[in-house]
């Protein structure tokens, strides 16, 4: 009798579990966009939306600190032990791993038809396509190169947003004399240095930096040398704060700007949530300990090439997601990926991400004020007009450029010398 029950229970559980078992799709990321679960195992925002949109799929998303993620990714990819879906940065990271990723073109065509590309921002898809293969889909875009400013502070000192280089210097110095940081920059973080430099280079002569990366022109091109030179000057002509090389963009610059201690900074659309939404701003207020409701605005970098127009934004996918070529359940992984990419865009829009798909506006329901809405709409317009990208394809160039920028900032080298070194590195690249 006893034995019978044991077998019965065993069989019953097997049946129970097999019929209700969901396909499990694993996803690892350094920024899971709330697709993961919190420390107690409760689903975060996007995860709940995912479960609602795809109840038959069990998504197991795990977020790792960025450094840890990058280090262990190489090992897991090579050995086929990686998760079904993984997060990537476009550029050298994606190119390096491309050979281990599934080409998603057939899946996209089957899902959305032959014109599937029209659904996406082309600047996004371009950067997730390596050697003709669609190795990842962009989840959200980040457009950088904007000048964020605090209108409240500017009003206080009777200043307006600088529209050209000279104004940038004078406004910053006036603010400095009044105990406020003019333009704060986290030069410790190489990624924001790249953003600022690309912004300046694109403002001086749009696209030249990308041609240099492609090897079509030399890095010692006049506009690039000028960009480097302007970059270096910013550290000493009063635009940037003292000791910029010791500050990180997060938390130092973010904290100073949001709490009104710095009037300007360069940032991109990824920073929208913490500044322009009530939930984000309240979180910032609590962490940084301030209460004032500032008016934050967004525009482009000041005009530096004399055409009277401020700078444009440039964009790259912030997170793009690829599928492991050695995944054991590609069909389910694709289903999960489709939901994450397409269905959840409205979730991302709530957090003011620029969508990677066409026709998805910001969700302004939680915006802090009308002024904020204006700023966001202006930014969205700039983002739609974005030109170029944020990430470099060749790690040699990225490393050499990083060194060059730091050396010029510190005063070790002239702009020309620095660009010569980058050109030297560029020539070692096997294109």
């Amino acid at each position: 009798m006893n034995l019978f029950f044991k077998y019965f229970i065993l069989a019953y559980s097997l049946i129970l579990f097999s019929s209700t078992s969901k396909a499990e799709v694993t996803y690892s990321c350094w920024n899971c966009m709330t697709l993961d679960t919190d420390a107690e195992g409760n689903p975060n925002g996007a995860h709940e939306d995912f479960n609602a949109a795809a109840p038959n799929i069990k998504l197991v998303a795990v977020q790792y600190p960025y450094g840890d993620y990058v280090q262990s990714l190489a090992l897991s990819m090579r050995t086929g032990t990686s998760d079904d879906l993984m997060a990537f940065q476009v550029g050298s990271m994606l190119s390096t791993y491309a050979e281990y990723l599934e080409d998603l073109t057939p899946y996209a065509e089957k899902e959305w038809g032959a014109n599937w590309k029209d659904k996406f921002l082309s600047v996004g898809i371009e950067q997730t396509t390596v050697d003709g293969r669609l190795v990842a889909l962009p989840q959200v875009m980040s457009a950088a190169g904007a000048l964020w400013y605090n209108q409240t502070i500017l009003d206080k000192y009777d200043l307006s947003v600088p529209t050209n280089w000279d104004e940038w210097i004078s406004v910053s110095n006036i603010l400095k004399d009044n105990g406020v940081v003019g333009f704060m920059h986290g030069a410790k973080d190489s990624w924001i240095n790249y953003d600022l430099f690309i912004g300046i280079a694109n403002e001086l002569d749009p696209g030249k930096i990308y041609e240099a990366e492609a090897g079509n022109i030399s890095w010692t091109h006049d506009s690039l040398v000028k960009a480097t030179s302007l970059w270096g000057e910013m550290f000493s002509n009063g635009i940037m704060q003292e000791g910029a090389l010791g500050n990180a963009q997060y938390p130092d610059v973010h904290q100073a700007f949001t709490s009104g201690k710095a009037a300007m900074m360069t940032m991109g659309t990824w920073n929208n949530f913490s500044t322009f939404t009530n939930s984000g701003l309240n979180g910032s207020k609590e962490s940084y300990g301030f209460t004032e409701d500032f008016k934050y605005g967004i525009t482009g970098l000041p005009d530096m090439n004399g055409d009277g127009k401020h700078g444009r934004l440039f964009a790259s996918p912030d997170v793009s997601i690829g599928m492991s070529a050695s995944s054991g359940n590609k069909e389910e992984a694709w289903s999960a990926l489709k939901v994450i990419i397409e269905d959840l865009q409205s979730t991302y829009a709530k957090d003011l991400w620029v969508s990677s798909m066409n026709g998805v506006p910001f969700d302004l329901s939680d915006a802090t004020s009308d002024f904020a809405k204006e700023a966001l709409n202006y930014q969205l317009g700039m983002a739609e007009n974005a030109y170029g990208k944020r990430e470099f394809i060749y790690s040699e160039i990225k490393a050499a450029l990083g060194d060059a920028l730091q050396n010029v900032a510190v005063g070790n080298m002239s702009a020309l010398e620095a660009m010569q070194l980058v050109e030297k590195a560029s020539q070692t690249v096997k294109r």
């Binding site: 107690e40 600190p65 090992l75 897991s76 984000g280 979180g283």
Partner: protein, 269 residues
């Protein structure tokens, strides 16, 4: 005497030492101080203690430390015994090769060891931590034990041999009891190295449930979107303090042995 026992010398010495002591204790005081900011002392620590993984990670570190200590002790004692009191072929060669183990930088080991673990599927097991850490400590432990055993006079051993004792008997009944203080040192040192390890778990542990306590601070970052990992200073430092607590306690109770032991291990190099 080396330094005068008169009042003037004593007072000067006391002043200098106090000055140094204050400077040396500053960073620790800073660490405690930061753990109080933000939400306040109690709340910060409670937040860490209430976190689901805190106890799990402490438990993991305990398991890994215990087994690493067992492995290191066993293997290094017998190896040191042989190198010190027995006559293995190529004794010096072995000893030198073992010491080379001390010189390899961590970065060089990642990829090859990873491939090895992959083959034997060790990623989701405590062995992923226990084995590499043990390997890292064994050379140093052998060094300490050997130096110490070299100082154990051979007459006791000779006497035992004359009575017909074999090498294992000598090890068990003579060497081991006499090596208690250096053993304590090795135990404490191994515990420190294992408890404070971060990198091994980073590369070789692929299961979130098995992470050691050193990875706990990663979970106390501010929840800002896409901002990367900025520590939420209050709880973050509370976490650091809690991680250091077991070591502090172990050290406070056993510091006398550490001193005696390192003393003994270093006296003949």
């Amino acid at each position: 005497m080396l330094i005068g026992k008169d009042k003037k010398t004593t007072i000067i010495s006391q002043l200098i030492l106090t000055f140094l002591a204050i400077i040396f204790s500053l960073p620790i005081l800073v660490m405690f101080k930061i753990s109080f900011i933000g939400k306040g002392f109690v709340e910060n620590y409670l937040q860490v203690l209430r976190f689901a993984y805190t106890w799990k990670f402490f438990y993991n570190s305990l398991i890994v430390s215990t087994f690493t200590i067992l492995i290191v002790l066993t293997l290094s004692i017998i190896a040191a015994y042989s190198l010190s009191k027995l006559k293995p072929i190529a004794k010096n060669t072995f000893f030198n090769l073992i010491l080379i183990g001390l010189m390899v930088p961590g970065a060089a080991l990642i990829v090859p060891i990873f491939l090895l673990f992959l083959k034997f599927n060790l990623f989701k097991s405590y062995l992923a931590m226990i084995l590499p850490i043990s390997a890292g400590i064994i050379p140093f432990a052998i060094l300490l034990f050997k130096n110490y055993m070299d100082n154990i006079p051979n007459d006791l051993i000779e006497a035992a041999k004359i009575d017909g004792a074999g090498p294992l008997y000598i090890l068990r009944k003579i060497i081991l009891p006499l090596s208690s203080s250096i053993s304590v040192v090795v135990i404490i040192w191994t515990f420190l190295m294992t408890w404070n390890d971060y990198a091994t778990a980073l590369f070789f542990v692929r299961d979130k449930e098995l992470l050691p306590v050193t990875h706990l601070p990663n979970y106390f970052n501010m929840a800002t979107m896409s901002a990367g990992n900025i520590p939420d200073y209050g709880p973050f430092f509370a976490c650091l303090v809690l991680i250091s607590l077991p070591i502090m306690l172990v050290y406070l109770f056993l510091q006398k042995y550490i001193e005696d032991g390192i003393t003994a291990g270093a006296s003949k190099n």
